[in-house]
C-alpha cells in the first residue's frame, strides 16, 4: 500500500511524535548527562513507564515512516546512538538507518549519518518541496524547537502525543506559553498497560470560542 501511495501525486504527510509528561514537559524524557549539566535535574522521567504495548506502538510508527525530519540536536543524538547500530538491531534503528533523513540546521554542513540531507536557508520552502515530491509520511520525532516551529507555521498534519503518567515540574514544554491557537480533531486515543496514553490529533483550523 505504501508503494502505491508513494507513486501518487499525494503530498507527504508530516507527523510529529512527542513524549510529554502530564504537565506537558518534553525535555530530557530519557537520561541525559548533557541536560543535567545544563541544570535540568529530572531527566529520564519517561523510560520506566514503557511496556511491551507502548514500545510496539512506537516501533510501528518508525516502521511506517518514509522519511525522517529532525532538529539539529535530536539528529546529533540519534546519529550517535541509533546510527551506530548494526542492521537487524531492531525496528527503530533499522527504519532510521534505511530511510532518507533530513535535518533542519544552519550550522551542520557535513552530516556523518548516511542518507542525510541538510535543510538550511528557507526551511518552510524546503519542507514544502520535499513533501510535494512524494506521498507517504515524513516523521518528526522529538526535536522540540523544530516541532514548535512546525506547529506555529501550520505545517503539522498529525500529532502523536504519548502522555507519560508523571508530573515533572520543570523543563521545556512542547507547547509554548505564547503561541497560535488551533482546533484539533482527536483521531485516536488509547491507554497502555503501564499508564502511558496515546492521543493522535489533527490540526483543524481555528478554535471556536463561546461568548459571554
Amino acid at each position: 500500500m505504501r508503494d502505491v501511495a508513494r507513486k501518487g501525486s499525494a503530498i507527504m504527510k508530516l507527523t510529529t511524535t512527542t513524549q510529554v509528561s502530564v504537565d506537558g514537559v518534553m525535555q530530557a524524557n530519557g537520561p541525559s548527562k548533557e541536560e543535567r549539566e545544563a541544570g535540568f535535574e529530572r531527566d529520564g522521567w519517561a523510560m520506566g513507564h514503557f511496556d511491551d504495548a507502548s514500545r510496539s506502538f512506537v516501533d510501528h510508527v518508525y516502521q511506517r515512516a518514509d522519511a525522517f525530519l529532525f532538529g539539529r540536536r535530536t539528529y546529533d543524538f540519534f546519529a550517535r546512538y541509533w546510527g551506530a547500530m548494526e542492521p537487524g538491531s531492531g525496528p527503530i534503528p533499522d527504519a532510521l538507518n534505511t530511510r532518507p533523513k533530513y535535518v533542519a540546521s544552519t550550522t551542520l554542513t557535513e552530516p556523518r549519518w548516511s542518507d542525510t540531507t541538510v535543510l538550511s536557508g528557507d526551511l518552510a520552502a524546503a519542507i514544502g518541496e520535499l513533501r510535494a515530491k512524494q506521498g507517504g509520511e515524513l516523521q518528526v520525532h522529538g526535536s522540540g524547537a523544530l516541532a514548535r516551529w512546525l506547529l506555529e507555521k501550520g505545517l503539522v498534519d498529525e500529532m502523536n502525543l504519548l502522555v507519560v503518567p508523571v508530573v515533572v515540574g520543570q523543563g521545556t514544554r512542547l507547547f509554548p506559553h505564547s503561541g497560535p491557537d488551533m482546533a484539533l480533531d482527536l483521531v485516536e486515543s488509547r491507554a497502555f498497560p503501564k499508564g502511558i496514553t496515546l492521543q493522535v490529533y489533527r490540526p483543524a483550523g481555528r478554535p471556536q470560542y463561546a461568548a459571554g
Binding site: 506537558g24 524524557n29 530519557g30 520525532h141 508523571v166 508530573v167 515533572v168 490529533y201 478554535p207
Partner: protein, 216 residues
C-alpha cells in the same frame, strides 16, 4: 477523605477562561470560552457523575463566588445534576477575606488551611472534590494534598493563559486509573498520586545512553 481535583484543560494545559470570553480576562487573556463549544453529552454526563459522587466540595475563593452566583443562585441551574449536588452537599472555601458566605452549607477555612484540610481528610470518609479553583489547586499540589486528579482534556491548543501545572513545581508519579475519549474528542483521564517519580538518570552514566526523545 480522598481529595480529588476535577479540571478542564486544553491540550497545551491551559485552564483559564474555559466557559466564556468574559469569564476571566486576567493577564490580558483573549481566548476565553474554548471549552463550551466542545462539551458533548458524554463529557457532560461524566461531570455530572463526578459531582454527584462528591461528599463535600472544596473551593478557592474566586471559583466559590462564581459557583455561588450561578449554581447556587439561578433556579434553572440549581435543579441540574451539578446544581443539586452542589446545593445539597457541604461546601468549604479556602479564603482569608470571605467572612459571611451567602451560599447555604458553606464553611470558610481560614488560618492554617493545610491543617484544616488535613483535619477534614482525617475526620471524614468519602470524597472531597475540588472543582476548578486554579490557585488553590496549585497550592494543594505544592503541599502534597491531592490524592486523585480527574482531567478533562479538550481538543484545542489555546496558546496563552494560565496553566494547571506551573513551570516550576514539585514532581509526582501518577497511576492512570481510567482513560477514555468522548465523541467530540475530549479525553478523560483519572490519575492517582503515587509518590515521587523514578528517574533513569543512573542508567545514563553506566551505559552512556543519550537522553533523547524516543529513547525507550
Amino acid at each position: 477523605m480522598k481529595l480529588t481535583i476535577t479540571m478542564n484543560v486544553s491540550v497545551d494545559g491551559v485552564m483559564q477562561g474555559l466557559g466564556g470570553s468574559e469569564e476571566d480576562r486576567r493577564g490580558g487573556f483573549e481566548r476565553g470560552g474554548w471549552a463550551l463549544p466542545l462539551l458533548d453529552t458524554e463529557a457532560g454526563n461524566h461531570i455530572n457523575e463526578v459531582y454527584e459522587g462528591a461528599d463535600a466540595f472544596l473551593f478557592g475563593r474566586r471559583t466559590y463566588e462564581i459557583f455561588a452566583g450561578s449554581w447556587g443562585a439561578i433556579a434553572e441551574m440549581r435543579v441540574q445534576p451539578v446544581g443539586v449536588a452542589l446545593n445539597e452537599t457541604p461546601k468549604y472555601v479556602a479564603s482569608t477575606s470571605l467572612t459571611d458566605p451567602q451560599w447555604a452549607g458553606t464553611t470558610v477555612l481560614t488560618g492554617d488551611v493545610a491543617v484544616a484540610i488535613r483535619d477534614l481528610k482525617a475526620q471524614q470518609d468519602g470524597e472531597l472534590l475540588v472543582p476548578g479553583s486554579g490557585v488553590l489547586v496549585r497550592w494543594l499540589l505544592d503541599n502534597d494534598l491531592v490524592d486523585e486528579l480527574d482531567l478533562l482534556t479538550y481538543p484545542v491548543v489555546i496558546g496563552q493563559g494560565t496553566r494547571l501545572f506551573p513551570d516550576s513545581g514539585p514532581d509526582a508519579a501518577l497511576d492512570l486509573v481510567n482513560s477514555r475519549a468522548t465523541s467530540a474528542g475530549i479525553t478523560i483521564q483519572t490519575y492517582r498520586r503515587n509518590g515521587r517519580p523514578q528517574y533513569a538518570t543512573g542508567m545514563a552514566a553506566s551505559e552512556g545512553r543519550p537522553g533523547i526523545q524516543e529513547m525507550i
